[in-house]
Amino acid sequence: MTAGEPHRAIEAIFRIERARLIAGLARVVRNFDLAEELAQDALVIALSEWPRTGVPANPGAWLMTAAKRRAIDAIRRDKMRERKHEEIAREKDGAFDGARGSELWAIEAAMDDDLGDELLGLIFTACHPILSPDARAALTLRVIGGLTTDEIARAFLSSEATIAQRIVRAKKTIGKAGLTFEAPRGPERAARLPSVLEVIYLIFNEGYAATAGEDLVRPSLCLEAQRLGRMLTGLMPEDAEVFGLLALMEIQASRLKARIGPDGALLTLNEQNRARWDQLMIRRGLEALARAEALGGDGPYVLQAALAACHARARSAAETDWPRIAALYDRLRAVAPSPVVDLNRAVAYSMAFGPEAGLKLIDEIADAAALRNYAPLPAARGDFLFRAGRPAEARCEFEAAARLTRNARERAFLLARADACD
């Protein structure tokens, strides 16, 4: 390949290889900081050699070899020091533990042993349930996404010091727990997968919750989460929920440009201009969903993706397949029950089978503690009552909802609906 490669080009290659490099190193040295340091050392070596020699044919393998050589040097130095101590000890009591000498050999052998799922191991370690979801998200963006601490801080609207500290603590926790940096297998993998998916979805929502200015002031977390989701489908091609999460994110991301109204406020699905939905993302989402369903998926992410797909397939709000949405909420309620799912289910029933069906369901959940003071509950009930021809009762509900919401635009909307009840 070409010699005289500028530093920027080498750094771009390094960015592509970085996560895999750290993953391979972490599995051997079992230490995040050391793995990151060794990867950085490899970059420094590449920056000094590649401009002269050209980029090697397999830059990933080259970087890994360079980093491993540094690792072995470091371990040898440690061993030498240890041996000196041992010699002193032997002189003292005449005993020597011969097994120690073979340890270096074992580490060198492990260095050459490529399991191919190091990256998956790194993801599962960074997303380990012993860490808080926020810590997992920061660590994942740092070591897998390759974002700088400053970029993560800006994305989470937090200070660099806070994020740096969060990452340091997370690494310490992982070190103390003696995690192996290996991907769990069998039933343990299934048990730990939700904590991985949760983090990726948290990163996505952190980006999705932001409004119009997002692209101007934040590195796009949605893109980062989608990238992670796509990586994970490559690493776990047999898992339905992994494809379900990807499908959910791709379909939601298809609406990113359509979600913001001219006054900068978020628009509901009904209000969005569907011509602005990104059909490429919808297609990718539907493909991922088809794969999830072919794998027999029936978990919460697959079902949420199927719900999102119902809206994505409808060319206009009126064409929405509400009976199918109602049926999906029945299933979602079975696998991931929550008061909000119950409320959305009532709305779906009202759209599919009429306002009375919605009223019947909403009255069953009206006392749920989690929905007390939750504006969407009286707002939905008001809508059902209005459509059922009971405007006086509807008015009370809209007014109650208007009192509960903290969003000025939503309050104006609800009061307008209350006024329309005369």
Binding site: R15, A210, T211, R227
Partner: protein
């Protein structure tokens, strides 16, 4: 950022796919490359295009519409295939293209074109729209 990556046509690609051992080998290598792109979360979509002998052009001139049948002469200006990628910057796109196997038996060229994004329309934003953007930015920085 999204980039469209074009594989430019050559005399060979204009002849269509022929079942030679070299073609099979190239397809295999390209398959591995695509898998690498997919696993890195970079690949959004990709396709190969049939030779321009099967193409049509529609020439516009005022209200006039004239259909021109392929093949077209200026081979090196034609496109033989494309990818759509999501990358962090052009450097990353270049790094990926460099590790692509040569898509043609002889010398060939691949071209990277970034897609327009919201930010590119900044200058064209109306004052009202710009104000909304500023307001949102302000809101975000205060949160």
């Amino acid at each position: 950022m999204r980039v469209m990556v074009f594989v430019k046509a050559t005399e060979d690609s204009e002849k269509g796919i022929r079942p030679t051992p070299e073609t099979a080998e190239m397809f295999e290598a390209m398959g591995r490359f695509n898998e690498e792109l997919r696993n890195a979360g970079v690949l959004l979509t990709a396709d190969g295009l049939k030779p321009s002998s099967q193409a049509k052009r529609i020439a516009f001139d005022g209200p006039g519409r004239r259909v021109i049948d392929g093949p077209f002469a200026e081979t090196r200006e034609l496109v033989a295939g494309f990818w759509l990628w999501e990358v962090k910057d052009m450097d990353e796109a270049v790094a990926w293209v460099k590790r692509c196997p040569n898509p043609m038996p002889g010398p060939s060229e691949i071209e990277i074109r970034p897609l327009y994004e919201m930010a590119d329309f900044q200058e064209f934003l109306t004052p009202e729209a710009a104000e909304i953007h500023d307001r949102t930015r302000e809101k975000l920085s205060r949160t």
